[in-house]
Subunit: 316 residues, 2 copies
């Protein structure tokens, strides 16, 4: 698929972006919760949270290990960082905050401590299922659901954002199939995984092209970034996706009309949120690379994110 043919998705995705007007109060454009930040990892939840804010969320909360909190807080005063994830009563402390959050992103810098994954993180996923809260699962969150596929049964909305290694582990555990991570993945393989997870699941497979698939349809985002693969870029994607996913939950008659007029009714707002996030991060990578070259870092991309959003997704 050529890049030009993707522009219709970008046009459609613009309908997701809510108007900025003075009658709205703080929070309405997005309160995002991020579950991650551990003894080992503190950068990932920072990138995810800041990416949500720079995409247009009003507030971003990070729920992390006690030991990770001061470092994450110190990166930026913008994030609200709650150091509860490894306390005995973690879920009891976190639960009251979940209700007011619009989308929960599980995984950036989460680590693989089984007590944390099987304890509070599992409780948070179950809370989101019961309360129809959209979930985005990335990184070590994908490890958790690979080990416990039943965790995702009956989700009202879940988006998984694996890279190819994480994808092959998911395929192994959900479909009991082996795939060769070095071979080109086909759209049909991504669709098969999404279908197995459920009717409300989307898989966004990151790669040379990103493949975005529900059980009904697959699309690709093939706009090229640069060859630079700096750490943190996946966190920027999942963070940006979290707020776009919130926007996709709104009733949107204009979008439905646009999709009908363009014979794109197999797509929906959630698929377009994935496309928008993928395109935004890939274009931001390409743009930032022209300024920072081989030494480009995720922080550089973060600095360019809001202007790139304005350039490609803002409605004039």
């Amino acid at each position: 698929m050529s890049t030009a043919s993707e522009d219709i998705y970008l046009q459609a995705a613009k309908y997701l972006v809510p108007s900025l007007n003075v009658n709205k109060h703080k929070g309405q454009n997005g309160r995002i919760g991020i579950i991650g930040g551990s003894v080992e990892y503190t950068g990932a939840p920072f990138y995810a949270g800041m990416s949500a804010l720079r995409t247009g969320a009003d507030l971003a909360y990070v729920f992390c290990y006690r030991e990770a909190a001061t470092a994450i807080k110190s990166y930026s005063p913008e994030l609200i960082v709650q150091p509860y994830l490894d306390l005995e009563c973690a879920f009891e402390l976190i639960e009251p905050w979940l209700d007011r959050l619009h989308v929960i992103l599980i995984g950036p810098g989460l680590g693989r401590d089984s007590h944390i994954l099987n304890g509070p993180v599992t409780s948070i996923i179950n809370y989101c299922k019961i309360n129809s809260k959209p979930l985005i699962i990335d990184a070590d969150g994908l490890y958790l659901v690979s080990e416990n596929p039943e965790l995702l049964s009956n989700c009202s909305k879940v988006i998984l954002t694996p890279n190819v290694m994480e994808f092959s582990r998911l395929v192994k555990k959900f479909l009991n199939k082996s795939i060769d991570p070095s071979a080109d993945i086909k759209d049909e393989q991504v669709k098969e995984l999404a279908d197995k997870i459920g009717p409300n699941a989307i898989v966004l497979l990151k790669g040379k092209s990103d493949i975005i698939s529900s059980n009904a349809v697959s699309i690709r985002c093939s706009v090229s970034g640069s060859g630079r693969r700096c750490g943190g870029q996946g966190d920027l994607l999942s963070g940006s996706l979290s707020v776009l996913t919130w926007w996709a939950q709104q009733n949107n008659a204009s979008l439905s009309k646009f999709l009908e007029e363009n014979n794109l009714t197999t797509l929906d707002a959630d698929m377009l949120a994935c496309y928008a996030a993928s395109r935004l991060i890939r274009e931001t990578n390409a743009f930032t690379f022209t300024e920072n070259h081989r030494g480009m870092l995720a922080s550089d991309m973060l600095n360019c994110l809001s202007n790139n959003f304005y350039k490609i997704l803002e409605v004039d």
Copy 2:
């Protein structure tokens, strides 16, 4: 009320701004104390303190929880951060500092721990009342006074800066009336609350227009910002207001003359300090938005604050 008709308030507010001259010593233009910064929140007191400094205060002190201190210190070396608020002897440790501070701002990132609110924070408010120290109350400080309306009786000077949800809680507790937060609030409702609190109280209600009211008069700041509602903007307002309030305490014959000449004698310096802070933050929002668009954050606004102050409030 049109924005043009507000320009007389801006002209008047310029009389508050003290001259910068070499005979003054450090501190005279403002030593501000901020009570806030908790386990959950560290960004808010940073924004408030930095906003005070960027508006022109000489020194800003933050009195916070022990666990919050390192993060707040890490955001900037400009703030003097005292990690005493949750110690057993908190008030004893904080009291010696209060005497040299000009204005105390209570609430940014304070949290709602009842031991802290009913312990040292209540003691600090009582100290300010006994010692005629101007108080500004925002955020969780408003929660505290909503729960204990008698705390504000006999204040020599107190300014409350609620948003509409905080305002409706105050109205419930002070006036035993219910209001619909989604309806437009009328000037008279704000004046009624200010009147109930006392003759030295001002309420600055933040909203689509900001309504500023004493028991005598109401004015509005209607200059539009942008539709972007990022977290921290309220903290920028209360921080900026804290130093303007200190300036408003000076004898000011030129201001009195200007108010008389323009038939504005129902206004006073404190009301104009509120107007100036409100206008400064709204104009800074609008200006910063043109550069950062939807991804604009409070840190971006902070970076533009002193230039915007220069543009709209500095006397040439």
